[in-house]
Amino acid sequence: MASTNEIRKRRAVERALLGAARQTVLALVALVVFVPILYIIMASFKSKMDYVGNQIGLPAPFVLDNYRTLLKDGQILLWFANSAIVTGVSVASCTLIAVLGAFAFAKMRFPGKDRIFNLVISLMIIPPIVMLIPLFVLSTQVRLVNTYWSAIIIDAGLMLPFSVYLLRNFFITVPESIMNSARIDGCSDRGILFRIILPLSSSALITLTVVNVLWVWNELLIALIFLQKNTLTTLMVGLVQYQGKFKVNQPALLAGIFLSMIPMIVIYLVGQRFFVQGLTAGALKGE
């Protein structure tokens, strides 16, 4: 029979082995995740010749040609501006509308409340393509195709169910007692929402903004259909067109891909906590 000491020793060895195995698995995952990103960055600094002959090595020589090409003929700054406009306006307007709606769903009483709320949040999973044809026909009729507005309104609308849901679940946790004392001091409903609830909800608002900004920035389908004019092209659509037009210049495409990812990578690094919160909010609440 083994002594307790030996058992303990064996356990320690087992644990060390298990730990090493786990670290190996996770290191492999990190490799699979980061290789594409590192490759994109690396290749974006290769000359065209180098890229063809030396596809998987380090850049030799290290050049900025691709970024120069992009800035010169790729109109990439315009695409950035267009993406920023569509993202900024649609996220801001969606947030404002959702704040008002979520306040009513969280803190007011009115007939049909639960039913309307359930209807709104059930729309979250409906794929955008299902609404697209009538929206396109309608936008053509009212001459909104090829204006920022068509994409902004549709993007804002598609984000709305999730936004209302997330904010309502947060607003509901603000204690009634605070609201009541404000009411006694003569605060109106609007005052309660903007002076009491919103200041208490900054983390929920940041979470919502992070998730929504990411979604619109990365959105392709709607921009593709509603913003077909060259002057309105967003970054994602621009990249796709760039691939079609300049199939030969792959390193320049990779440089464009990298540039398009930078803003979202920054947001992710800074606001990861909020992002995790936003993604898990849908699944863990209301269970």
Binding site: V130, L160, Q250
Partner: protein, 293 residues
């Protein structure tokens, strides 16, 4: 008077009005309109009523059946995604050194745009792409295939990208749920001598049941109707329509081939299937976990 006032805030409707207006404009009106379009001859002047003709055209188009098969194949990724997410979430939950860093790593693909990463992978899988170059370099040249030009491999390549980008979401979801479980349970089970598999099936999976069910539902819907972006940037449905999916079919029919009626018919079918899945999931949830709600 005060009692009546307290039971019903008339102003509430003002607050939900903008939400409702946008919902009607962006969701409800288009859905009704689409149902109508699917019964009309959209290409003709005056859009005459054509009964179920669009649905008939759809069902007799073999591209539609190819699309449907591909969505079906994509759904096969769901069990794989669940298994991978389970393993990774448990690994991270065990407070392995650097787990917060790894959590960030695992979720990273999910924040990348499908367009950007899909374009990268379209270069990666090309005949002269990085994958084949790499295979040749390490002496596995006999394994090289024109991944995106080969009918048998193109969809597999798309599936790989979907897996790469989506696995982090499940992992984070399961991890968040696990963190709400008292850690003592795991310690107690370990002390009682329960092995890894035993702990997985007796403790982890039951605690995660609701989240797993939710995730499966979400992923099935994703594979059915949220994969347009992948196909559009990686294969454009090719080669020879072998990677068409239902959304891409709708896109092509309506915006390239000007057959809006047929596209509307498929839109309606897609909507009904999604709604039916949501309803089933809701019922299932209620029956299984009703007592906790």
């Amino acid at each position: 008077m005060t009692a009546a006032k307290r039971s019903w805030d008339r102003k509430a409707y003002l607050y939900i009005l903008p939400t409702l207006a946008v919902i009607v404009l962006v969701f409800l009106f288009p859905l009704v309109q689409n149902a109508r379009y699917s019964l009309l001859e959209m290409g003709q002047k005056g859009r005459p009523y054509s009964g179920m003709r669009n649905y008939g055209l759809l069902l007799s188009d073999d591209t539609f059946w190819i699309s449907l098969r591909n969505n079906g194949l994509l759904i096969l990724l769901v069990p794989l995604l669940v298994a991978v997410s389970l393993v990774f979430s448990v690994l991270l939950f065990q407070r392995i050194r650097g787990w917060k860093f790894y959590r960030g790593v695992v979720l990273f693909p999910y924040i990348t745009s499908i367009t950007a990463i899909g374009l990268f992978y379209s270069l990666f899988f090309q005949g002269q792409g990085m994958l084949n170059t790499f295979l040749e370099r390490i002496g596995l040249g006999f394994l090289t295939v024109d991944w995106l030009g080969n009918k048998g491999w193109a969809l597999a390549a798309v599936m790989f990208v979907v897996l790469w980008r989506e696995f982090g979401f499940g992992t984070i979801l399961f991890l968040a749920r696990l963190m709400t479980v008292e850690e003592d349970i795991f310690d107690a089970a370990r002390i009682d001598g329960a092995g890894w598999w035993r702990r997985m099936f007796a403790i982890v999976i039951p605690r995660l049941a609701t989240v797993i069910e939710f995730y499966v539902f979400l992923m099935v819907v994703t594979m059915l109707s949220w994969v347009f972006n992948y196909v559009f940037v990686i294969t454009l449905g090719g080669p020879a329509r072998s990677t068409y999916v239902t959304e891409y079919y709708i896109f092509m029919q309506s915006f390239k081939l000007n057959r809006m009626g047929v596209a509307s018919a498929l839109s309606i079918i897609l909507f009904l299937v999604t709604a039916a899945l949501a309803f089933l999931s809701f019922r299932f949830r209620k029956r299984l976990y009703g007592e906790y709600e």
